[in-house]
Amino acid sequence: MQHPVGYKLNKVGQPVLSNVWALFVNPTFVWGYAHVILASLITGCLVMLAVSAWYLRKQQHVESFHRTAKVALIVLIPTIVIQLSVGNQLGVVETHYQPMKIAAAEAQWNSCKPCSFSLLQVGGGANDKTPSQIIEIPHLLSVLATGTWSGPVTGLNQLQAQYQAKYGPGNYVPDVFIQYWSMRVMAYLATLVLLLALWGGWLLYRGKLRSSRVFLCLSVWAVITPFLMNTAGWLLTESGRQPWIVQGLQKTVNANSPSVSATDIWISLIALVLVYIVLGAADAVLMLRYSRHGLAQADAEAAEPSAAPGAPAPALTY
């Protein structure tokens, strides 16, 4: 949907699959897939690190949780470095296929060459196209978006004119506020996580991991960052595709089923939100309970002699 490939339009204008291989080598797919898989790894590492740090702070099961914290850190450091470069590469791919998304993420209303990266700004939405830059880094946007030192980035105004010429009148600019801030939440938190991981790696190297209370405290709280980063990343990519549901082929506004009314959509949306609140609450209760359960139960289970070889069906698991 971000960059449709491998299709032809049939007589009535519907896209029909024509080359399945093109789907598998679609750069948006390849880089996006790597990005999501790495994000899952990072989420897993940070959850593991947080639970380990919580126990290390309380000085319970120190040996076991020192080991899990070590594994989490050893995986986390290279993964987040790779993730930053994969995310960067995905940004370059998207600048090529979905320039609106990246221009909006930088609130870059006018074309530039070379382009500075806005570290922090005020304003910049559709009603205020000349944001007040508070901090910016020269050339960084060119490097991030094009992979070259002084590459040009086309601005939203210029893209809007191009799109109108190509697709007819309409507003083709995604929500700049969402783009700008979801990009920053994701990237800044990732940088902080990298610093935290490097700090942890250094403590590990010096053999002080179990005694650094500040690091352990921060690591426990860092458990929320992967969820914020993942949410921001999805917002960035999905909101950045708007107004398209399938980039260049179909707009979101035309994509609803004619036999599903707005009332139906509201009912289903509210129903699913309620279902997820109930299930999410139960899930959170269980995760916290099991995280704090300690290893007593697990130790007991491990100590218990396992059933005789060739034992009957496993005991009541559920």
């Binding site: 049939n10 699959l17 009957p312």
Partner: protein, 353 residues
């Protein structure tokens, strides 16, 4: 044979696979509180389906996904028409699926009771609602020339659709009861037999009524088709065998009855896939709702490679967990010193499932 006909058959196989496999765990889920009176007995009932229910459920996803890929027109009209009903199915699937995992993770009686109800209600609602939806394909829904559904939620409650839903629900309950008898020992097994006998009698009546109604809906002759005759015979067999020790054959019969019922719906439909009650000229057919030839060809290749693999590992998982579940198994593991049962303790020869 044309590719779209092959894919129609594959999709029918997926739906049959889903209802035959998930059918017994719907039945067990719906009956577990009544078959199991103590907490341990309830856990035994849930554990009879524990290793498989999620694998079985994937058949539904595959059926839906194959429908989406092979017949996008059919998928679009059907899923838009059934929109709110499917939201309800989805909510039931979510609660039911989670109930397996969450139930045992809390000790509280109310926690366990709550998830037991989620399992029971979900297990009743899902086959009922999907049955109504499948029945509606044949009963006919208001569909216009553009293949858009023009009715509202209450138009989905066709008489024949409701009858199909009830029939499938009762068949799933029977299938679950025969499965419980096959997979357990002692009192639970006896209760499974008892439920199978009572539900079986109801299933015979419902199935005969549904067969007659199907003949009326499709019109053109009053002679029952072989699938219908064998379907009714299978229900009778399952009911009669539930009074004997032939648990494997009773289970096979109830499974066959479900397969016959699902097969019958689609046999009656072909070459249509959705009937328009507005005008039969607007019916969706395998021709006018299928994907392009290239897409179907690629899908056929994928299916030829992966279907045998999936069947192989799913069959293997049934083989691994083929023994009966007994409450004793749990106690044996909790207190391994008290007795050292041989590998066959507490189990009987079970027919392959």
């Amino acid at each position: 044979m044309q590719l779209h006909t092959i894919w129609f058959i594959i999709i029918v196989v997926f739906w049959i696979g889903f209802f035959v496999l998930e059918g017994f765990d719907f039945g067990v889920g719906a009956l577990h509180m009544f078959v199991g009176r103590s907490e341990t007995e309830r856990r035994v009932a849930i554990n009879t389906i524990g290793p498989w229910w999620d694998g079985n459920e994937v058949w539904l996803i595959v059926a839906g996904a194959a429908l989406f890929a092979a017949f996008p027109g059919w998928y679009a009209t059907m899923f838009s028409a059934l929109y709110l009903a499917l939201v309800l199915v989805l909510a039931a699937l979510l609660f039911r699926g989670v109930s397996f995992e969450y139930r045992g993770k809390g000790e509280d009686v109310r926690w366990r009771g709550g998830w037991s109800w989620a399992l029971t209600i979900g297990s009743v609602l899902i086959p009922l609602l999907i049955g109504v939806g499948l029945g509606d394909l044949l009963a006919g829904l208001p569909i216009n020339a553009q293949h858009n559904f023009t009715g509202n939620f209450f138009d989905l409650l066709t008489g024949y659709g409701l009858m199909t839903g009830v029939t499938l629900l009762v068949l799933c309950l029977l299938h679950g009861a025969t499965f419980l008898a096959l997979r357990t020992t002692g009192e639970i097994r006896d209760r499974g037999h008892g439920f199978a006998r009572v539900i079986g009698v109801i299933a015979i009546l419902v199935n005969v009524a549904w067969v007659i109604w199907t003949l009326i809906v499709i019109g053109g002759g009053t002679v029952p088709q072989p699938t219908q005759i064998f379907g009714v015979i299978a229900v009778i067999f399952a009911t009669v065998l539930a009074s004997t020790d032939n648990d494997g054959w009773a289970f096979a019969s109830s499974g066959f009855a479900i397969a016959a019922a699902i097969g019958q719906i689609f046999i009656s439909l072909y070459p249509n896939v959705m009937i328009s009650s507005t005008n039969h000229a607007y019916n969706l057919t395998v021709n006018n709702s299928a994907s392009g030839h290239y897409a179907l060809f690629v899908m056929t290749l994928v299916a030829v490679i992966f279907m045998p693999l999936v069947l192989l590992y799913q069959g293997w998982s049934f083989h691994v967990f083929r023994r009966r579940v007994t409450g004793a198994t749990a106690e044996v593991q909790q207190a391994p010193a008290t007795s050292a049962p041989g590998p066959d303790a507490g189990t009987e020869a079970t027919a392959p499932t």
